[in-house]
Structure formats: C-alpha cells, structure tokens
Amino acid sequence: MPLFTQPPRSADIELAGPFPPDLHDVRHLWLKAGLLLLWALVSFGGTYFARDLQLLVFGSWPLGYWIAAQGAVLVFIGIVVAYGWAMNRFERQDAARAQSGEAVAAGSAEAPPRRHG
C-alpha cells in the first residue's frame, strides 16, 4: 500500500530531473515493427486498392468491402492479441533467465552472473 498511495509530488520529480526511457529491447522493437507493417498493409493498403479488390467476390462478399467493413477490424484485434501474447512470453523468458542466472551465480562463485536484457 505505501508504495502507491501518494501521487508523485511535483517537487520530488523536479529534484530527480527528467528521466529518459530505458533502452528498448531489440526483440520488442522488431515485434512492433512487424505488427505495425501488417497494420499499415491491411488498413492503408487494403483500402488503397479497394476498387481492384472489389472485383474478387467470395460467397456474397466483394473482397474490398469485406476487408474495410470486417476483415481489417478482425486483423486489428489479432495484432493487439498477438502483441500482448508475445510480450508476455518475452517477459516470462526474461524472468526465467534471470532466475536461472541467479541460481548459477549462487552455485558457483566463479561464474559471473548473467545479465538479462
């Protein structure tokens, strides 16, 4: 409880100075870049060529209309879910590695504790 009760006082932050973001993990950045590319392809690419895609008809759906009305939204949900899943996985991996690193460090004093990223 005491950790979070007080809002950070302006004065404290002023003393501490601004803080830059931590260095981002490269795996996280690649994941984001890949998913953002998919996002741009589906939303901007899908609608830019909508007139051409309209000629393809699946069942009763013209493809261009379907992508804009439903497909893109489903892909957006997929992107957000995939991102959350992958990030959780990365964080679990990091935690596991940190733990095993500690165990190794405790077991043999010579082995340097592995840094986790």
């Binding site: 809002p7 803080f19 009763s60 209309y65 939204v73 949900i77």
Partner: protein
C-alpha cells in the same frame, strides 16, 4: 492493491465481479421483458420513454454514490486494480460516444463505402476508430502505464521536466476534450428531450445530473463501474434491433455474418433505380428548383421583391374569391416566412440551391453502397479526379482518426487503472474486442436499413406511408422528409431524405419492433453519450487542477484538498459545457472529428519520440507540440467562414493537395515529428541524467 499481491484473493475478487455483472445483465433483460409485457398490457408510450430515462440514470447515479471517494489513488486511477476485462469494457463505453452509437450507421447509410470527394467518411470512421488501438497497444499505453502516472500531461512533465511541456500538453488536452464534451452533452439533451418531451435545456440538466453524481462523487473509480454498466445497455440496445432486422430479412439473427447477401441485392436495386424514369423525373424537378434559386441569386433584391409581390397577389386573389380562412392564413404565413432582408435571402437561397443540386443527382446524391470510392479510374478526367480525391481524403481521414485515437487523453488515462503493464496490454485487446462487437454490426445495420427502404418503402403509395415517418418528420424536418416531388403519388428513392442521426433511432420502428425497443435504443444512445462525457469531464478537470494549477511546487496542500478542488473544477467545466451546448452550436460534428486531428498533431509525435528516442529534449518536445498543433489549427481555421475577414495572405490558400480541413492532422503529425526531431538534434548535448527510475 491486495488483490494484486495475492493471486488467490485476486481470483476471488474477479469471480465476485463476474457474479455482479451476470446479475446485472439478468436484471436488465428481466426489466426489458417486464416492460414488453407491460406494453402489451396497454402501458402508454408516454410512460415508456421517461421510465427508461429515469431508471438508467438512477442506476448510474447509484453506482456513483456507492463508489464515492476522496482518496487520490482511487479518484484519479481507480486504485489501479481494475481487471483487464472490465477495464476493456469501460474503455469501450468511454470510447463509443453519441456519434458512434447514433450517427455511425447513419453515416454508413448515407456515405456508403467512402463518401464523396468533398466529404470523406463511411468506412473510414469504422477503420479509424478501431485501427488506432493497434497504435495505443504497441506504442503508448503499456509504456505510460509502466511510468505510474496520473494524467496524460504528467507524462510530459516526468519525461521532459520543466513546466512548459506539461502546460502545453494540459492546454491541448483541454482544447480537444472540451469540444468533444460539448457534443456529448448536446447528444444527451437531444435524446432526453425526445424521450420525455421536455424542453431541450431541461433535458441537458437531467442528463448532467447523472454525469455529475457519478464523476463528482467517485472520480475514476465510480466512472469505471458506471461505464461497465453503460456498456451493457448500449450493446444490448444496438444488437437487439440489428439482429431482429437480420432475422426478418435473412432468417438469421447474426447480422455481421449474413448481411453480405443483401449487398449484391442492393447493387441490383441501385442499378434499377438509376434506370427508372420516375427517378429521372425527380432529379429533373430538383434540378429545376435549384436553377430557379440560382436565377434568384443573380438578382437577390429584385427576386425578393417579386416573391413578396407574388405572395401579396395570392392573398388578394384568395380574399377576392372569399376562399377558406385556412388557405388565407397559410398564404400569409408563407409570405411572412420569406427572408427579411437581402442578406438573409442570399444566405437561405444559396443553401437551398446547394441542397437541391445535391438532391438532383441520381440516388438522391448517395454514393452506391458497396462501391469503393466515387468516380472511375478509367473514366473521363472529371471522374478520374473524383476517384483520386475521394480515395486520398478517405485515407487522410482514416489516418487522422487512427493517430488521434492514440492521442486522446480521456482514452489513454483509462489504461492507467490496470494493475500491471501486462494487464494494460490485455486491456487494450479487450477494449478493441468490445468495440468490435458493436462496430462490426454498424455496417450491417446500414445495409439492412437500406435494403428495407429500397425494397419496401420505394414504390409504395404516399397514402400508405407508415405513421412513424410522419411522427419523426414532425420532430425535426432535417431528420426525415418525404415529398411527392413528381406528383405521381408513389414514393421514389430520390424523394426520401433521411438524416444521419435518424437511421439508428428509427430502426426499431422500421423493423416493426415493439416501442420498448425504441426506448432501449434511446437509453443506449444516452448511455453512450453519458459514459464519454464522464471520462472527458474528469480528464479536463484533472488537467486544469493537477497540471495547470498545481504544476509549480509552491502550493503545499494535502492530496485530499487537491481532490476536492478537482471536483469543483469538474462542476464548473460541466456547467460551462452545458451552457455552450444549450446554445445549440450547429457545427458540432465537424468539431468532434476535428478534435481527433488536434489530439493527433499535439500529442502523438512528441509522445512517441519521447518514449522511443532517448535523444528527445525538452526544447524539442515543446517545439514539436507547438508546431504540430499550430499547423493543424492554422489549416482548419483557414477554411472557417468566420476567418474570411482576415487579410487573405494570412490564410492558407485553397486546399493543400485537395485534403479537407477536417483531416488537418495529415499535415500536423509529420510537422510535429520533424520539428521535434530537428530541435532535439539542434539542442543535442542533453546532460546525462542520473539513473533513478528502473520500472520496466
């Protein structure tokens, strides 16, 4: 807080919430069943509307009273312990405003796939308002949550230090949230006055009472649970009529899965209508009317005098033949309703000329439902230009709405309330899921209503028009007008004009549902408007008090006093927003869409650079925000009629690249990025800060 530390207890808490939600949903359904039964027993329609209005607002207010608090952690961020599913539900209700609920289907009906070159829209709204969540999930929300902040301007303070980044961010937050909240309160007034028949201003006050009880007493904690309750109402209110219509037309209530069958039928019907001689007659009549107005505009003074003389002549003639008193009264009323002076006449006739030209196009000026973009890439130069402009404006609007989503403060603060960073990511996913439940049905509703109109209404006789049409036309002629233009006694598609706001509100009647469903739809619209207004009011008052008033550390007050001051700021903001809404500003909807462009230009470039590039400096942040916001505001104001008084060299000349002013973010966002990056690089030797925070 305890729940987070002990997983067993957390699960118990979650199950308790699930139980409460299930009981609530059952309660709402039972209430609906009860009301339906009462209607069949003969409960008057005059009572159904007020009962819905009163009971729903009382439920929201009750939750507000139950969740009252003065603890800052609870007031600003709901104790940071809302489970992702409920956080997502609350964010979905927060996100879906009156515009989404009431106008989105209408816009899809009127604008089809993409709108016209001059007014992009249609599916751009749907894509923009959902696609932005990908940016929120990956670039912004988890990072802000990791910093343990309270408001969005806090980020600029913590990241860049100094006072200006925070002050500018707070002012930008107030600017884009205030126009938005005015629109919500306007929507509340509209629905409350229609539902109960009271005056518009009293309707506003009724709705405002509900908003205030909630956010005033309980802050974020109460708002969160109210929004969950409101989400349930608004989801049911949307899905029941859509499913019914789909069941009626296609025999399957799962509208989003099956409405594709109607798209090709509509395309066939549109082709028939384009060839129909009766439709051509209607178009010709409107064209004649438009040309008549155009001729009058050539000589406004003379035309006005001629019109007056014609009116007087007619009254004299009627008197001379001892006509019925009613006829004489009508004629003199017509005479009195002529414009008072030349300026008024010019304004009104210009508007009517434009409206008539608008309607003098095939299909009443509506683009074909499923055709992507108007015009033709292989047609005449004019058609090619139309195609190119529609597509460009469609993409521009979509871009602004998406990036604006990632910058609107009232949405971002919703993710501060989740217990962990991982939960913030999951919350975004849940929000998008709950929003999609409704948004996937919106185009379905537009298509089903259009089919209903084209198939059943067009071609029926004017005597057999359903009564609800006359009722709505009486409420406001801009919502619905039907006129036998070519005088053959049969309804043509070009003769019907439906307003964007009407489609959703009239769906139950169009589908022949009991009146209870109309009450539910109105209650859903009210829930959408109230939930968004709650979130916005809290954002504005927090920005005013936390970020502007207390931003220098001299004022030493206890956190409780701070909360109390925030509450009174909220009251003041709510009252002034109600005051502005009561003036019935006409340009509300463009203003709301514009606030997305403003939020996109002001916040997103600097926020993304600040999170991902360590080299961003304070000066760079200030310059980037000011430049982005400045360009967007400048481009918008250059195209507002009131600014024409300024010397012309001050204003932007014409449209840049044919982009409509509503999508000014297309220029603001890149400007913000470039200026922030360049100034940061210029003021580069950023002093190496001591490593103090290591969260995430």
């Amino acid at each position: 807080m305890d729940e987070r530390n002990d997983p067993g207890e957390g699960r118990a808490y979650l199950w308790r919430l699930h139980r409460i939600l299930a009981l609530y949903v059952i309660g709402v359904l039972a209430f609906l069943a009860l009301m339906t039964w009462a209607e069949f027993q003969g409960l008057s329609r005059h009572w159904i509307g007020p009962i819905f209005l009163f009971l729903t607002v009382m439920v929201y207010a009750g939750i507000g009273v139950y969740g009252r608090t003065t603890d800052p952690e609870e007031y600003y961020v709901a104790g940071r312990r809302i489970p992702p599913v409920y956080n997502g539900m609350a964010a979905a209700a927060d996100w879906m405003s009156a515009a989404s609920f009431i106008s989105l289907s209408g816009a899809l009906y009127l604008q089809g796939f993409s709108g016209t070159p001059g007014q992009a829209g249609g599916l751009a709204y749907l894509l923009g308002w959902t696609g932005g969540f990908c940016l929120v999930a990956m670039l912004i929300a988890p990072h802000l949550r990791a910093m343990g902040l309270y408001t969005v301007p806090d980020f600029f303070h913590v990241r860049f230090g100094g006072r200006w980044p925070r002050v500018i961010a707070a002012l930008a937050a107030v600017l884009c949230s205030f126009t938005y909240v005015v629109a919500q309160i306007y929507g509340v007034g509209l629905i409350a006055s229609r539902l109960t028949g009271v005056q518009f201003e009293i309707g506003i006050m009724l709705g405002l009472g509900g908003v205030l009880l909630c956010s005033f007493l309980g802050g974020m904690r109460a708002i969160t649970w109210t929004q969950v309750a409101q989400y349930v109402v608004l989801l049911l209110a949307f899905l029941i009529p859509v499913s019914w219509l789909a069941y009626k037309q296609l025999g399957n209530p799962l509208a989003p899965l099956v409405y594709g069958a109607q798209i090709s039928k509509i395309a066939d019907l549109e082709a028939q209508l384009l060839d129909s001689p009766a439709e051509h007659q209607v178009v010709q009549t409107y064209l004649r009317r438009a040309q008549d107005f155009e001729a009058r505009l050539g000589d406004v003074e003379g035309a006005l005098e001629r019109e007056r003389e014609k009116g007087r002549e007619r009254i004299r003639a009627l008197r001379a033949q001892n006509a019925d008193v009613g006829l004489i009264v009508t004629a003199s009323r017509e005479l009195a309703s002529l414009p008072r002076d030349v300026a008024a006449a010019r304004e009104r006739w210009t508007r009517e000329m434009r409206e008539n030209y608008e309607r003098a196009r095939p299909l009443g000026g509506l683009p074909q439902q499923s055709q992507a973009f108007v015009g033709d890439p292989h047609g005449t130069p004019q058609e090619q230009r139309d195609y190119e402009l529609t597509r460009r404006n469609f993409l521009a609007l979509m871009f602004c709405l998406m990036v604006g989503t990632a910058g609107l403060p009232h949405l971002l603060t919703r993710y501060y309330t989740s217990p962990t960073v991982a939960a913030a990511r999951a919350s975004v996913g849940w929000s998008l899921f709950f929003i999609a439940l409704l948004y996937l049905s919106a185009p379905a509703l537009a298509v089903l209503v259009k089919f209903e109109v084209m198939q059943n209404l067009v071609g029926s006789s004017f005597e057999a028009l359903p009564t609800w049409m006359a009722q709505w036309a009486r409420v406001d002629s801009s919502l619905l007008s039907v006129e036998d233009v070519n005088g053959d006694g049969i309804v043509q598609f070009g003769e019907i004009r439906l307003g964007a706001d009407l489609i959703m509100l009239a769906t139950p009647e169009l589908g022949g549902l009991p009146y209870v469903v109309s009450g539910l739809v109105a209650a859903g619209g009210l829930a959408a408007a109230l939930s968004t207004a709650d979130g916005l009011l809290l954002t504005i008052s927090n920005a005013l008090v936390r970020d502007l008033y207390f931003q220098d550390s001299q004022r030493q007050v206890s956190p409780e006093q701070r909360v109390i001051l925030t509450k009174f700021a909220l009251l003041a903001v709510a009252l002034s927003a109600a005051f502005v809404a009561a003036l019935k500003p006409s340009e509300i909807l463009p203003m709301v869409s514009a606030s997305f462009s403003l939020a996109a230009s002001a916040f997103v470039p600097v926020m993304v650079l600040g999170i991902f590039w360590r080299g961003t400096t304070r000066q760079g942040a200030v310059a980037g925000m000011l430049a982005g916001l400045g360009v967007a505001v400048y481009y918008m104001l250059s195209h507002v009629a009131a600014m024409r008084a300024l010397p012309s060299w001050v204003l932007a000349d014409g449209l840049w690249f044919g982009i409509q002013p509503i999508s000014a973010g297309v220029f603001g966002v890149p400007t913000g990025f470039c200026v922030a990056a360049l100034v940061s690089w210029w003021t580069r030797p950023a002093p190496l800060p001591p490593p103090i925070r290591s969260e995430m």
